[in-house]
């Protein structure tokens, strides 16, 4: 009897120590869910969701916020978030904006007065310029977040839709037979 008790007790102690060690040794620093959600979000940092950037929104989703507040990501992002979080894929919350074509900012350089306000507003440092010098947008870095448009005192920033190039073109069935491939021969 006593042997059994001692054995069970030792086993319990052993496993307890093992688990205790593992919880320290393999401690997860941050919530991995937040990282995964952040990966899915489009990283425009536009703040249309009401949070200051994509990561804060990812944290909010991890804490139970709705997943349909990201207009730049659109339905595709909502679907992915729904798959990840196990929530229902709702349609985009229109109060946060509507899904739009991808755009980039363009500064009409003649009209720019060099006030640097847009530079301060840009979340990804994609605007180049200095005080009283003309500014310009690095189109490759611009996420199209729209945040530079409002601060401009002379309204010289336009949001220009990104044109499709042959590199970014997706094959389209609806255009058939336009750009279609002839698939089969009658022999």
């Amino acid at each position: 009897m006593s042997v059994a008790l001692i054995t069970v007790g030792l086993l319990a102690l052993g496993f307890g120590l093992l688990l205790g060690y593992a919880s320290i040794r393999f401690k997860v620093e941050s919530d991995p869910l937040v990282d995964q959600i952040d990966e899915i979000l489009p990283q425009t940092q536009c703040g249309q969701c009401g949070y200051p950037g994509c990561r804060p929104y990812a944290e909010a989703i991890a804490n139970g916020d709705e997943i349909n507040k990201c207009p730049p990501g659109g339905e595709a992002t909502i679907k992915k978030l729904a798959d990840l979080t196990g929530k229902e894929a709702k349609s985009l919350d229109a109060s946060h904006g509507e899904e739009d074509v991808k755009k980039v900012a363009y500064i009409r350089e003649d009209e720019c007065i060099g006030c640097t306000k847009c530079i301060q507003a840009c979340p990804v440092d994609a605007i180049l310029g200095a005080a009283k010098q003309m500014h310009t947008v690095l189109t490759n870095e611009c996420t199209g977040c729209d945040l530079c448009v409002d601060p401009c005192p002379v309204d010289c920033i336009d949001m220009v839709p990104v044109t499709t190039t042959t590199a970014s073109w997706r094959w389209d069935f609806k255009q058939t037979p336009k750009g279609d491939i002839p698939v089969k021969m009658v022999s």
Partner: protein, 671 residues
């Protein structure tokens, strides 16, 4: 798996035996339509449209301007990038426009093109052939191939000079004359008509790569080409001419390697990884043209075929020839088609053109104009019945039906697990499909979607990194600012704690001294200024400030003096006219005044810097203001500070003071 060894391969090839690849199909060739007649040089089109980018890699820089005259063969672009070859003017003429034009891409989107109006003379630029290519450096030869704009003419358009400059040792140099796709006969005609030139190109590539063996492979449905090539190679023991049984897609690079050597190219690898380099016969011809005749790649053979043209055949089309010109040359029969349809490339891998104005590019080997009912389009797609005929036909061991399911359902990660990107889009699966599913279509769509998604993800990652870097920077700046404020606060508190009447008195005294100095200066009492400033606590700095101000004034006064032709020294001039003639008051308009101020400030800055440098060398103690008053214009004042940094600071202060004064003066004048 043990790779077949070199000796085994050679002995097998010499016996006429080959390996085979799994799958493949046997579509009707229909090559007789176009291979019966000689290659024709069509008339010059009214307009040539040369796309700047015609191959994998990057675009070059455009070298010509609109309205410029160009000669045939003149380079139009250049690039220092390795993965880029230039394009050349296909004929002599005028650059009509440089801009977007629809190009040979299934999307029908526009890309930058150079449009040339031919002048009809077709005058060549001066050519520099290299007939004795054995005597020059190999690297020089490779760069000549690059400068001639040679890109792979089999289909993908890989820049040839990169393959030709391989550093790895090459066992087999394979010359691809397979041309397995139905209808196309461009390589067939080229081999029949230009066998000698092709062999010259092979010799050049052999010289560059020094392979252990050269193999020319031709499919057995081209007996005439085989006969001609055999004759040309008769005296050549180093070249193995191999006849390959007809099977589609035997002309694919990896498939042909498998047929000839039994080796398989790794899925992420290149042929060079198994010791093989392959060139198309057309590329060999272009290389020979480039080296031996100095001609850049400006024309190629294009098969114009199908039942909806009157004279199907092969044409030497200049790069940039619009498709509709070739159609009119070949005699397009619109009545044979229900709706106009032109396929660029073959029936298995080509794509339907959106616009007949699309130009011929370096990779265009065929224009197929099928009559109604000549080809089907899989328009009545039915459900997949899981017959697995596609898997049997696939030459790269894929499971097309699985790829199809996942691509259709947009489960792209699963499609990639089934190695979607190993698909060579040969169309064999779609050809055998009893449900007429356009399988390749789904794969191409899935591939492009995955590519675009990957690009977007990369962009998002970059944006995230930039956002985080910015956040970190703002945080750091905030902390720095706070630290600065904290420091200032502490200093203030300390000052309050040690509050003694003397310190505040000092400040008052200093302020008074400054005010006095200013007044004295305005009065033109230069000695007094010097004295006052020297008595002030920050002797050097103030002296310099005063000096700069004085200089600015002196300058202005000198200008005035020059205008008035008075002999009075500038300083005294100022002193007499002091109050009613402020420095800027002479100028009539504010704008002018402002300009003058700026000029004066700049001059003052420049002088102060010079003076500081001089002072550093000479260590003179002359008071600056008096110096100015005696020597007026050409002796700059000297500050005592030795360091450049201090001097620069002083200059700025001096300029600012000068500006402020000028402004004040202007305001006074306005009163």
């Amino acid at each position: 798996m043990q790779l077949p060894q070199f000796e085994d391969i050679i002995s097998r090839l010499d016996k006429g035996q080959t390996w085979s690849f799994s799958g493949g199909v046997h579509p009707a060739g229909n090559k007789h339509l176009s291979n019966q007649t000689c290659t024709v040089h069509p008339s010059l089109p009214e307009q040539l449209i040369v796309p700047v980018r015609q191959h994998i890699g990057t675009d070059g820089q455009i070298l010509v301007k609109e309205g410029e005259q160009v000669k045939k063969g003149q380079p139009l672009t250049q690039s220092s990038q390795a993965f880029s070859v230039p394009i050349h003017a296909p004929t002599s003429g005028t650059i009509k426009a440089i801009g977007d034009h629809v190009t040979a891409h299934p999307s029908g989107l526009s890309e930058t093109c150079i449009q040339i109006t031919p002048d009809g003379h077709d005058t060549w630029v001066s050519l520099t052939p290299t007939p004795h290519y054995l005597e020059i450096e190999k690297s020089e030869l490779v760069s000549q191939i690059c400068n001639a704009g040679v890109a792979g003419m089999g289909g993908a358009g890989f820049p040839s000079h990169i393959k030709a400059s391989g550093s790895k040792s090459v066992e087999f140099l394979i010359i691809n004359g397979i041309e397995c796709e139905p209808y196309i006969t461009a390589d067939d005609r080229l081999m029949r008509e230009q066998a000698a030139s092709i062999l010259e190109g092979v010799d050049i590539l052999t010289h560059l790569l020094s392979p252990r063996a050269v193999v020319i492979a031709i499919e057995d449905n081209k007996p005439d080409a085989i006969a001609v090539m055999k004759q040309a190679c008769e005296s050549r023991t180093d070249i193995h001419l191999v006849t390959v049984p007809t099977k589609y897609p035997a002309g694919g690079e990896k498939q042909l390697i498998q047929i000839l050597t039994g080796r398989e190219v790794p899925r992420d690898g290149l042929p060079i990884d198994v010791g093989i380099t392959m060139f198309n016969v057309g590329t060999c011809f272009a290389v020979a043209d480039a080296i031996l005749r100095g001609k850049p790649l400006i024309e190629r053979i294009v098969t114009v075929t199908g039942s909806a043209v009157e004279r199907p055949g092969n044409y030497w089309a200049r790069i940039g020839t619009p498709v509709n010109h070739l159609l009119s040359v070949a005699g397009y029969l619109p009545k044979q088609q229900k709706q106009p349809e032109v396929i660029m490339g073959g029936p298995m891998m080509g794509f339907t053109l959106n616009d007949a104005a699309v130009p011929v590019v370096k990779t265009t080997n065929c224009l197929l104009i099928p009559a109604h009912n000549e080809l089907t389009h899989g328009s009545d797609e039915r459900a997949c019945i899981r017959c697995s005929a596609c898997a049997d036909a696939c030459p790269v061991h894929l499971l097309p039906q699985q790829l199809f399911w996942h691509s259709k359902a947009k489960e792209y990660d699963k499609a990639q697990e089934y190695n979607l990107f190993d698909c060579i889009e040969c169309g064999a699966c779609a050809y055998v499909c009893p449900s007429e599913i356009p399988l390749v279509h789904y794969y191409r769509k899935a591939k492009s979607d995955i590519r675009v998604e990957r690009d977007e993800r990369n962009k998002a990652d970059k944006a995230k990194a930039r956002f985080e870097a910015r956040k970190a920077r703002l945080e750091r700046e905030k902390l720095e600012r706070e630290a600065k404020h904290q420091k200032a606060k502490e200093a203030r508190l300390a000052a309050v704690d040690n509050k003694t009447t003397s310190s505040s008195k000092d400040k008052v005294a200093a302020a008074l001294a400054r005010a006095k100095a200013k007044k004295a200066q305005q009065a033109g009492n230069s000695d007094a200024t010097a004295n006052e400033t020297s008595s002030a606590p920050q002797d050097n700095k103030k002296a310099a400030v005063a000096a700069a101000v004085a200089r600015a004034k002196a300058k202005k006064a000198a200008q005035q003096a020059a205008q008035q032709h008075t002999d009075t020294p500038p300083a005294s001039n100022k002193s007499t006219d002091g109050q009613n003639v402020p420095p800027v008051s002479d100028s009539a308009e504010d704008a002018q005044a402002e300009k003058k101020q700026r000029v004066a400030a700049a001059v003052a800055r420049a002088k102060a810097k010079k003076a500081a440098q001089q002072a550093a060398q000479q260590h003179t103690d002359t008071p600056p203001a008096s110096n100015e008053s005696t020597d007026g214009q050409n002796v700059p004042p000297v500050s005592d500070s030795a360091e450049d940094a201090q001097a620069a600071k002083k200059q700025r202060i001096a300029a600012a003071v000068a500006k402020a004064k000028a402004k004040k003066a202007a305001q006074e004048k306005n009163k």
